[in-house]
């Protein structure tokens, strides 16, 4: 074998895999190879000093084999002739045996025949950023977060991901997709000796998009650092969020979590079919609910849309070659479609989307979210606030918990504002709220006319388990009569 390394000669690896694929493509009812090459640079600076400098290069192939309508998988990082041979034959033998106990026998149509490409919209590729360039940005922003001696921890970190995927199948499919992804977080933890409070850039790792090197603009980031630091200090002297039932306005950086947990997960068709019951859980949604269930108020419109430019989970094809298209999941509050891949659609006869996705080369594709977005309304944020006699506005997720059917949730945020008689009056610490999914969404009473886009790099699901990247954009949203409470 010619000596190549996974990342300095990527075209050689793709050619090698294409050659190997051709060797095996007629060895089963259906064969596909998915090559994934991914480089992640994960750097972190705390209080102006190096915290973590980690880089992870991943490269491997997922082999898909269909026998008698059952799909089995082999995966290997051993990218040599012998390594592929071993992985293929082991997977073939196991798939033959497992096919005798298959839960469902699929047609080959679950793997469409397509040719296409996708690339992240960007001005400058992420690989143009040097180690020192990234470090300098993180150091300057970390230092800027420390607006006072009371800020004891000021962290700026960035995860830069360059991912390239090739997919070849015996149906003639050839797909090339490449992604540049940025997950950038900044946080300040302030302490007065008695307690500490943390404020961050849109909560944990919520600030994540597809973009190139042009994202890193110090003149935009430094004012954000100042605001984060100031708000951390504000929280130290703020009142606890009151415990009462009142109106609630959620900022887009909390709505991302609300959408994710109480819309995204319950609409995953493999959950509805029961595949996740042992791990992530089932769903309160029944197959008969599609087209019937009034999921939320009439102003609620939710779309699956991997075609949005720069959102975290944008792509042209899912991981089995199904072309991505925008589709309403909830229209005027009524549940209309599921997050179901071609496999789940075949098993259920329920309308779905292009969402068969796997976390990398070492896991099989399952039904996942991609970009799940709540469409904006018509009002300004000031108009939403003016509609509230008494309520709380909450920003940036910090705690999340929901039951295995996705009904009863409790979420917490970093930063709150009290609203009295249509005006924002003071800052609140430890803001939390709880509710039940369908009544909660039916209490939706207002949406701002502008949206913000966030996401999560760590949506967990599946056996064996997988994390996947998801995007969520949302306006500010007003909900009526919600149970809110504070800490302590």
């Amino acid at each position: 074998m010619q000596v190549t390394t996974p990342f300095n000669k990527t075209e050689n690896i793709a050619q090698f895999l294409q050659t190997e694929f051709n060797r095996y493509k007629t060895s089963a009812d259906f064969v596909a190879f998915k090559l994934v090459r991914e480089k992640t640079r994960d750097y972190s600076v705390r209080n102006g000093k190096t915290e973590e400098l980690n880089e992870f290069i991943d490269c491997g192939v997922l082999i898909e084999i269909m026998i008698k309508g059952h799909m089995g998988y082999g995966a290997t990082s051993e990218l040599s002739v012998d390594g592929i041979k071993k992985a293929f034959h082991q997977a073939l033998e196991m798939t033959k045996k497992a096919s005798q106990s298959a839960v469902y026998r699929f047609e080959k149509s679950i793997r469409p025949s397509v040719k296409g490409t996708y690339s992240t919209a960007r001005t400058t590729r992420l690989d143009n950023l040097t180690m020192a360039g990234i470090f300098d940005f993180l150091k300057q922003t970390s230092q800027a977060l420390k607006v006072s001696d009371q800020v004891i921890t000021a962290v700026s970190d960035a995860m830069l991901i360059e991912c390239v995927q090739n997919y070849f199948s015996s149906e003639g499919t050839e797909i090339y997709q490449d992604f540049d992804i940025i997950v950038h977080s900044m946080s300040a933890t302030a302490s007065n000796g008695q307690e500490s409070q943390t404020r961050s850039l849109h909560g944990g790792r919520g600030n994540c998009i597809q973009a190139g090197a042009e994202y890193f603009q110090l003149d935009r980031a430094l004012p954000e650092c100042q605001q984060i630091g100031r708000e951390a200090l504000e929280l130290l002297v703020a009142d606890n969020c009151p415990s009462e039932t009142c109106d609630l306005i959620l900022a887009p950086d909390q709505m991302l979590l609300q959408i994710h947990e109480s819309i995204g997960h319950p609409l995953e068709l493999d959950r509805i079919l029961g595949d996740e019951r042992n791990f992530a859980g089932w769903s309160f949604v029944q197959p008969s609910d599609f087209g019937n269930l009034q999921y939320g108020s009439r102003m609620m419109n939710v779309v699956f849309d991997p075609t949005v430019t720069n959102e975290l989970a944008s792509y042209a094809y899912d991981d089995v070659g199904n072309k991505a298209e925008k589709k309403h999941l909830i229209k005027d509050g009524v549940l209309t479609a599921a997050l179901g891949s071609l496999e789940s659609q075949a098993r259920s006869n329920i309308s779905g989307v292009a969402n068969a996705r796997s976390s990398s080369w070492n896991r099989a594709p399952i039904d996942r979210m991609a970009n799940i977005n709540l469409e904006p309304g018509t009002e300004t944020l000031d108009q939403l606030v003016a509609k509230v006699e008494r309520g709380v506005m909450m920003f940036a997720n910090r705690s999340w918990s929901i039951d295995d059917y996705r009904r009863k949730f409790q979420f917490g945020c970093e930063y709150g504002k009290l609203i009295e008689n249509g005006k924002v009056t003071k800052t609140l610490k430890n803001p939390n709220y709880r509710g039940v999914t369908v009544p909660f969404w039916n209490s939706l009473a207002g949406l701002s006319r502008t949206s913000e886009t966030y996401g999560s790099p760590y949506c967990g699901k599946g056996e064996p388990s997988q994390v996947i990247r998801v995007g969520h954009s949302s306006p500010y949203a007003l909900f009526k009569n919600i149970e809110v409470f504070g800490g302590g």
Partner: protein, 447 residues
């Protein structure tokens, strides 16, 4: 008993370390697995996946700077050496342009060792038949996971630690409509008899769920938490609660315990117990793991988990802790000491209240107050006068560790259950825990 992987690592590490110049230090950490995953739904196979995954992390240190680059191994020596050499060259060129890292500690030779373990279990195709025999007619969903996992920590100072284990687990639940009971089986030596007995026990639990459901109102209830439920709460300690670096940086749920403003119950002890044998015997720096590290003893905080970097930064003594989630120190082999409550007395001692086998999706609701929230899951019952009345609808709890393991803790069970780590995100994990059940005077339910 050197294996092919051990020899391979010997070859590439020897070659790589020869290329180092004075002042350069390199360590290599291996994670390797050959895994068989069989995913079941409706007692049939949904997906089978076989994974050959090998990754090597190269940590380079020179001139008070350090950089870690992980990469896959192809097991083709020339290819892997080319990758390692290329990344090493990249780091050498770029790292001097960065600031020094004040937390960096020099690499040490922590010795040479090899440990091998092997469980006995059926092949995956035979396992599928056994499931279909033992759970005939049931609606089973879950994961069979098996195969070798290898870890190594090697450095240019002469250290070479190698650990290889080959084990299996079957993590499953059985359903009857919406009712479900959870099961779990792992053993050093597979036993048809024990597997069949556990299957019968899980199916029996499911039959108890056929009783009419009881609607329990939120509020304070006397509660028994089974070992799995206790393990799910105990996991929260690894969400930065026992990490010294997290504590120093302002995330301190156990601050009052540490400063002795509040204590846990004297019957509660939490120990990092690497003698359970669920782990490699070294951490990711190759340092020997402490055999027994009391974290909370008889209700009092004894030790945080402290790694070398934290020790250097805050002038403390390291206890060779490893990092878990959040890049902060975490326990790898957690033990809660047994109590005196006999299995046969649990229902009688509970009297009237909740019997919870499993909890779900636990998170801090106010970390300052060590307050956490989560849901009940699977087979959970309402009990009256020591008799199971019927299953409950899922309830949300919101309570704090000072009550759960402190003021409200009545008793811990004599019998404990051991769970090996079933996490498979990105790769299979080692470690596990051993937990008793816990009887609480009251627990707070909110929704």
């Amino acid at each position: 008993m050197a294996t092919q992987m051990h020899s391979y690592l010997k070859n590439i590490s020897t070659s790589l370390f020869k290329t180092l110049t004075e002042g350069e230090e390199v360590s290599l950490n291996l994670h390797s697995e050959e895994s068989e995953f069989i995913r079941f739904t409706q007692s049939q196979v949904r997906q089978n996946t076989q994974v050959h995954q090998h990754e090597l992390s190269l940590l380079y240190q020179a001139n008070s700077r350090g950089y870690c680059a992980a990469m896959p191994l192809t097991m083709h020596e020339a290819t892997d050496m080319a990758t390692l050499t290329e990344r090493l060259q990249y780091i050498r060129q770029n790292l001097p342009l960065l600031d020094e890292n004040p937390k960096l500690t020099p690499m040490l030779n922590n010795g040479v060792s090899e440990v091998y373990k092997k469980s006995v279990y059926p092949s995956a195709d035979v396992f599928i038949e056994k499931v279909q025999q033992s759970f005939a007619g049931a609606d089973l969903v879950g994961l069979f996971c098996a195969g070798p996992i290898r870890q190594a920590s090697i450095n240019s100072k002469g250290q070479f630690h190698y650990f290889e284990t080959d084990h299996f687990f079957f993590d499953y639940s059985v359903y009857d409509g919406p009712r479900a009971a959870k099961g779990y089986y792992s053993a050093e030596k597979w036993s048809d008899e024990i597997f069949a007995r556990q299957a019968a026990s899980t199916l029996n639990t499911l039959s108890l769920l056929k009783r009419p459901p009881v609607k329990v109102k939120p509020g304070q209830h006397r509660t028994y938490l089974g070992p799995m439920a206790v393990s799910e709460i105990a996991e929260i300690f690894n969400w930065r609660a026992v990490s010294r670096s997290a504590y120093e940086q302002g995330f301190a749920p156990l601050k009052k315990l540490y400063t002795r403003e509040q204590l846990f119950s004297p019957i509660f002890s939490l120990i990092e117990n690497n003698e359970l044998g669920l782990n490699s015997h070294f951490n990711s720096q190759g340092e020997p793991s402490p055999k027994l590290l009391p974290v909370i003893e008889n209700g009092e905080m004894k030790n945080f988990l402290i790694n070398a970097a934290t020790a250097k930064e805050y002038k403390l003594e390291s206890n060779n802790a490893d990092s878990g989630m959040w890049h902060t120190e975490a326990m790898r082999s957690m033990e809660v000491r047994a109590g005196t409550l006999n299995e046969a007395d649990i229902l009688k001692q509970l009297g009237t209240g909740l019997y919870l086998t499993n909890l779900h999706y636990i998170n801090w609701s106010d970390p300052q107050a060590a307050r956490l929230t989560g849901m009940t899951r699977f087979a959970c019952f309402w009990v009256e006068n020591g008799e199971i009345v019927g299953p409950i609808q899922d309830l949300r709890f919101d309570d704090n560790l000072y009550r759960i393991f402190g003021s409200e803790l009545v008793a811990l069970t004599e019998d404990r259950s051991a769970f090996i780590n079933t996490l498979t995100y990105q790769k299979r994990r080692l470690g596990g825990m051993i937990m008793p059940g816990a009887l609480l005077k009251e627990m707070n339910f909110t929704l």
